[in-house]
């Protein structure tokens, strides 16, 4: 039987509850009952929207649960997971997701740091530029995706118009018809949207570096590259790490809209990232069990950068 161990006599107002006595909610004193009542909605929400779906989808992932073929519904254990390791389209999605994520994060970090360094200088219009730079990040993902879909349009796209007018292209190019170009364009679209986040964080870190340190380095005769690598970079490395990990997690989670609107995973699955594959298998093919298994494997993959992120964030806080 559950016992009420949360309180000991004399430690709070809950004098009625005594260690070892059976738990009875009716005997809880007023303040504690109020506390429980106040946290109850949160408990219900956490259970309803987090724990229940988590457990339910785990059960689903262990079943052959195809809505279009209910007669085949049965418990199959780890069969969905085993099948995933042999699913050519899923394995391709893993590879494409890795290419997309690592390339996006690398570009976002390099560009983000460079832009932050420029914006850390004193120049006219710096305030306006800081406000403007955040716009891509503030745009809803679906708006960003639609915008890039138009930019890349084979017949009316701005990119084709620009490159043709500059004389770089002689005729319009269907950018998303070729696998390499399609992936590159998705990466660029993602970098365009996500880089401002890195800029803001790195800029904040840069502004935390004492000016006296920089001045001392100048007096010691250190040039700009030396100052950056010996002084600035070590001092913002923690923030860069946090940005990289966050961007990595987001590039795995937040790319569905971009892929769905711009390429739909094509041509021939060359931009078919994991969220798109999960969507297709679950909501198009109606294979809820198989889709749940994919989602679980992705969640486990996401845990790795998440653990590193939490450790980095904790380390940064302690330091």
């Amino acid at each position: 039987m559950a016992t009420y161990e949360g309180m000991t006599p004399g430690t709070s107002s809950g004098g009625a509850a005594v260690r070892g006595r059976p738990f009875n909610p009716l005997t809880i004193d007023e303040p504690r009952r109020l506390g429980l009542t106040l946290v109850l909605p949160s408990i219900i929400i956490v259970f309803g929207f987090l724990i229940f779906p988590f457990v339910y989808s785990l059960i689903l992932s262990l079943m052959n649960y195809d809505l279009a073929r209910p007669q085949d519904t049965r418990f199959t254990g780890l069969q969905n997971y085993i099948r995933l390791t042999q699913d050519r389209y899923f394995l391709n999605a893993v590879v494409q997701t890795c290419i997309f994520s690592f390339a996006s994060v690398a570009l976002e970090i390099i560009l983000g740091v460079l832009i932050a360094l420029v914006m850390n200088q004193h120049f006219k219009g710096r305030g306006i530029l800081r406000a403007v730079i955040i716009i891509p990040w503030a745009l809803p993902s679906i708006v960003n995706a639609s915008m890039w879909s138009w930019i890349l349009n084979a017949n009316y796209g701005a990119l084709n118009a620009l490159l043709t007018q500059l004389g770089i292209l002689h005729q319009y190019k269907p950018w998303i018809a070729e696998p390499g170009w399609a992936m590159l364009m998705l990466i660029l679209a993602n970098v365009w949207k996500e880089t401002p986040f890195t800029v803001i964080l790195v800029l904040a870190a840069l502004q935390g570096i004492p000016e006296t340190l920089r001045e001392a380095a100048v007096v010691d005769g250190a040039g700009a590259p030396r100052r950056f690598f010996a002084l600035t970079l070590p001092m913002i490395a923690q923030i860069i790490m946090i940005c990289a990990l966050l961007q990595l997690v987001w590039s795995l989670l937040h790319t569905f809209e971009l892929v769905y609107v711009v390429t739909r995973g094509g041509p021939y699955n060359s931009t078919d990232l994991i969220p798109m594959r999960i969507y297709w298998q679950t909501f198009k093919a109606l294979r809820f069990g198989y889709g749940a298994a994919m989602a679980y494997l992705s969640a486990i993959a996401l845990l790795i950068p998440s653990v590193f992120y939490i450790r980095s964030a904790y380390k940064a806080t302690v330091e």
């Binding site: 007669q71 018809a177 390429t263 094509g266 093919a285």
Partner: protein, 415 residues
């Protein structure tokens, strides 16, 4: 006193709204319905029956996604739903929709185009949907372009289409012969079916056994898709186009042929505000593998009553009203939708308004629907990826069909 009367009125109205009959209906916005013709008919239904309708209209994909989640959860949010012909096998397999015999007057479908009724009839012989959108696709060509190039008649075969396209392109009359909606989405598989049908190809038999990888006509059909692209007759950006993009390219005058045009294209084409080819477009028979062979794809959408509906009788009243001959004619007159009733193709008012419907009716005899399979969505997934790979020159047509069969082997023999 005034306050009391006002309060009384508020209570009366609130009470009345609680007891008023209402249904919730969801279906996609018809591409030709730029004037709210469907919404107007729904209002008429409410006036006639006193049944309020909460009408939800959005894009096809959005409706489809919304309904999948709703139906899978066994919800009761909707009383009348969009039932696409591509979903027939899956939805009937999942037991999501109600057979209509219990609500429908006997003989209600007499006089409807038989193919449209058959597509929504289950293996148990029961009818599960009444078509609201007779979405049969037709072959349109730019007659002015052909005449300018000295071509006397539209193509009857794919070889003729290719030859005519090359003439038009070499004379600078058209940028390309045609464009395909071959982006990595659902519609690509519609086009795949279309090509297979024009070659008389077979995809699966009634038991779900694969024919597509053994049938020479299917192989010839997919080979034709590759050939059109390779020979430069098909717009090379086709792998990035959806249906709307292809329609726009035709209406812009960039290509001479539109092989799978929606019926409403003719109305758009005649409107100079929406088209650069006003007065130049005509309807022909879809080219086939050889002269005399033609086929079209029909993608009808129906109204159905979900199992979870709590207002099934009223839902049927809505379906009956919206698919009646009178409403169907009004919609045809107003926005040019294709009727579902055979008699309306000879209706004097409609024939006067749409003389080209005579050409439509010739094509409709050879219209076929998509494959009816409970695993159709998996077929689509595989078909999109492998066909795009083939169109990009990475695999041969035979390799593509074999690869598809291999990837779908778990479903072989399952209808």
């Amino acid at each position: 006193m005034k306050i009391r009367i006002s309060l009384l009125l508020v209570f009366l109205l609130a009470g009345a709204s609680l007891f008023a009959e209402s249904i919730t209906v969801i279906f996609p916005k018809h591409e030709a319905d730029l004037s709210g013709a469907f919404a107007a008919r729904v209002k008429e239904f409410t006036s006639a029956t006193k049944i309020d309708v909460n009408l939800i209209q959005m894009g096809w994909d959005d409706v489809n996604n919304k309904l999948t989640a709703e139906m899978a959860s066994g919800g009761s949010s909707y009383d009348v739903v969009e039932f696409d012909n591509g979903n027939v096998a899956a939805w009937l397999g999942a037991n999501w929709v109600e057979p209509l015999e219990a609500y429908m007057p006997k003989g209600y479908t007499n006089g409807m185009i038989p193919g449209l009724v058959d597509l929504f009839t289950g293996a148990d012989g029961k009818l599960y949907g009444i078509v609201w959108n007779n979405d049969t696709r037709f072959f349109f060509y730019n007659d002015a372009m052909l005449k300018k190039a000295g071509i006397k008649a539209p193509p009857r075969t794919w070889d003729e289409l290719e030859a005519q396209s090359k003439t038009l392109m070499s004379k600078g009359i058209a940028r390309y012969g045609l464009a395909g909606f071959w982006k990595a989405e659902w519609a690509l598989v519609n086009d795949w079916h279309f090509f297979v049908y024009t070659y008389g190809g077979k995809i699966v038999d009634k038991k779900g056994n694969f024919l597509f990888n053994k049938d020479p006509n299917t192989l010839a059909a997919v080979s034709e898709m590759v050939k059109l692209l390779k020979d430069g007759v098909m717009d090379p950006a086709s792998l990035t186009y959806d249906q709307e993009a292809v329609n726009n390219i035709f209406l812009k005058g960039d290509v001479a042929f539109l092989t799978q045009g929606i019926p409403g294209i003719m109305a758009y084409a005649q409107d100079p505000a929406k088209s650069k080819v006003a007065g130049q477009v005509k309807v022909g028979l879809v080219p086939g593998a050889k002269p005399g062979v033609s086929a079209a794809l029909t993608l009808p959408e129906a109204y159905a009553i979900p199992k979870g509906s709590r207002n099934k009788a009223n839902a049927w009243k809505f379906i009956e009203y919206m698919t009646s001959k009178e409403t169907n004619k009004k919609l045809a007159q107003q926005i040019g939708i294709l009727p579902i009733w055979t008699s309306q193709y000879t209706d004097k008012d409609l024939v006067k308004l749409y003389p080209y419907w005579a050409d439509f009716s010739k094509q409709m005899a050879s219209a076929q629907g998509l494959s009816v399979l409970t695993w159709y969505n998996n077929f689509v997934d595989v078909c999109i990826a492998e066909t795009q790979k083939m169109l990009s020159g990475k695999t041969t047509p035979q390799q593509t069909l074999d690869e598809m069969a291999g990837l779908l082997k778990d479903y072989a023999g399952k209808p």
